[in-house]
């Protein structure tokens, strides 16, 4: 690294250290502090907030629910992202640009606007129930349930799940699939033994990003859920709103560890699932 290069990267490096590394440390320290109503977090230091988290049965239940919700969201997002990425990576359709814009829109659009949109899709007289009535079916009361929160989160996580997959599909050589077809492999076997192993890193990457998104978005649980759908991100917001920063920080550390745990799990499972069959694949 020359001096010129150092000068160019210094502002970004300083900002990242100042607003990412320092706050992460401060978060860990604050989680060990004590909360007194109306006062800033202060010593004495101790593990009292963590003790409360691990003895509180409500928080234990919420932790489970948060993990399950994020896993469901990530799984469904990747499943839905698969055909989208497959199509986008190969199509020459003129609708492609519009499709890319549509796919990227949840990544950017203000959460509150999207939450409002899902409200209008899912409410009594909304798009979903109007469509159900039009085909002669009973309307379904899905708003303010676990289902509506998960639906909103899947929509939010879809671009995160799709982007690594699109990259994986674009980098895949179509000749490999053709070769397998020439050698007599059925469509299913080509998918299983050629396509899936090649795009596995994209699948894992998409799952991880979607999982991290689902672990963080409390606005959806707050406005599309009910008091029983109260995952950890929402608890963090409530503790922050109540000015109990030490407790909020301890829950944030928990959320971070859960996210990291989930990501490690995905990597482990992905490696096992995708490496094992290759050795047992028929020659």
């Amino acid at each position: 690294m020359t001096i010129g290069r150092w000068l160019a990267v210094t502002p970004a490096l300083v900002l990242t250290i100042g607003l990412f590394v320092v706050p992460a440390g401060l978060l860990a320290i604050t989680s060990l502090m004590t909360h007194a109503p109306g006062q800033a977090p202060a010593p004495p230091f101790g593990f009292q907030n963590y003790a409360r988290i691990f003895t509180d049965s409500l928080i234990a239940a919420k932790t489970r629910e948060t993990m399950i919700m994020a896993l469901v969201v990530a799984g469904v997002s990747v499943a839905l992202a698969f055909p989208v990425a497959f199509w986008l990576a190969r199509t020459r359709s003129r609708l492609r640009t519009l499709a890319v814009v549509l796919l990227l829109s949840p990544l950017i659009t203000n959460y509150v606007a999207l939450v409002f949109g899902w409200f209008v899709v899912l409410n009594e007289g909304g798009l979903l129930n109007s469509a159900l009535r039009a085909v002669g079916l009973e309307p379904v009361p899905v708003l303010y349930t676990w289902f509506s929160v998960v639906t909103g989160l899947i929509h939010l996580a879809l671009p995160f799940a799709a982007l690594p997959l699109i990259a994986a599909f674009s980098n895949m050589d179509p000749a490999l699939e053709e070769a397998a077809a020439t050698l007599g492999a059925s469509a299913r076997r080509r998918m299983r033994y050629v396509v899936l192993p090649l795009i596995a890193p994209g699948l894992a990457g998409g799952f991880m990003l979607a999982f991290a998104v689902a672990m963080s978005a409390f606005v959806y649980a707050l406005y599309l859920g009910n008091p029983t759908t109260l995952p950890i991100p929402l608890l963090i917001w409530q503790q922050t709103a109540a000015n109990n920063y030490p407790m909020a920080a301890a829950l944030a550390v928990l959320l971070f560890l859960l996210t990291a745990l989930g990501l490690a799990l995905v990597l482990w499972v992905g490696r096992r699932l995708l490496s094992a069959p290759r050795s047992s694949a028929p020659a």
Partner: protein, 257 residues
């Protein structure tokens, strides 16, 4: 596969379509299909002082934050371009690291720091935090523009006698112009739409439009929200289309866009 993809695109479009439909509806009911067409909800939006001020605050935060993020991201991308060694990769990793960190944890951490410094709720503090949020994105877009840089063109200009600063001004920047413009527009869009950090760092006179909506939706859900949501949806679609034309979205999709 094609029809499955089509079904998913319908799912992706559903909330956006209903937002636009209800925003231009003549009725006060949030039903679908909407009844009649009018601009009354946009008029109602601009009649409300809090929403109007929220929109102005959003723009006043987004523009300087984007200028900061884009200039820092561009400088970093140029500084790390073809830089050899593990150190350069490590710096790149640090700058991109926040992309994989839960946004909520990031927002809480920054709030704790700004509370300590007693600058939470102040305008420059929010601008700085939003600039940080946009930095990795700006860096990625410009870095991917650099990756497509015609090889050796800078060396060629130098061998023809151009000074390093002349090479930078007359070769590097013009070639990168579309990537920088794309980065600027994308970051502007992201910061304009951003609600989480803006919510944590809000102040009595510092409420962006997404934060204003966050407070409003708690008590009322009506077409006024549709009009305000439509501003974000329209801005998102229009800017993404422009970026696609100017710089391509390939740096985001990792492909040939």
């Amino acid at each position: 596969m094609k029809w499955l993809a089509f079904a998913v695109f319908v799912f992706l479009a559903a909330p956006l379509v209903v937002i636009l439909a209800t925003a231009f509806s003549a009725s006060a009911l949030l039903v679908f299909p909407p009844e009649g067409i009018s601009l009354r909800w946009f008029a109602a939006f601009f009649e409300r002082r809090d929403f109007r001020e929220g929109l102005v605050t959003s723009v006043l935060v987004a523009v300087p934050a984007t200028v900061l993020a884009t200039s820092m991201g561009t400088a970093t991308a140029i500084g790390l371009h073809q830089a050899p060694g593990k150190l350069a990769r490590a710096i790149e990793g640090v700058v991109l690291s926040s992309l994989f960190y839960p946004l909520l944890v990031l927002a809480l951490g920054i709030t704790l720091l700004f509370n300590r410094l007693t600058i939470a709720g102040s305008y420059p503090a929010l601008v700085l935090a939003e600039a940080f949020l946009g930095l990795p994105l700006a860096f990625r877009v410009v870095a991917s523009g650099l990756a497509n840089f015609p090889a050796g063109i800078e060396a060629m200009a130098a061998s023809l006698g151009a000074s390093p600063s002349r090479v930078f001004r007359s070769v590097t920047i013009p070639v990168l112009r579309s990537a920088i413009a794309g980065a600027f527009l994308l970051v502007l869009l992201v910061v304009f739409n951003e609600s989480l950090i803006a919510l944590f760092l809000r102040g009595p006179d510092l409420v962006t439009l997404p934060v204003e909506m966050f407070g409003y939706i708690r008590f009322r859900i009506d077409p006024l929200l549709a009009a305000s949501s439509a501003i974000f949806v329209l801005a998102t679609i229009l800017v993404l289309l422009v970026v696609q034309r100017v710089a391509g979205l390939g740096s985001l999709t990792g492909g040939r866009d």
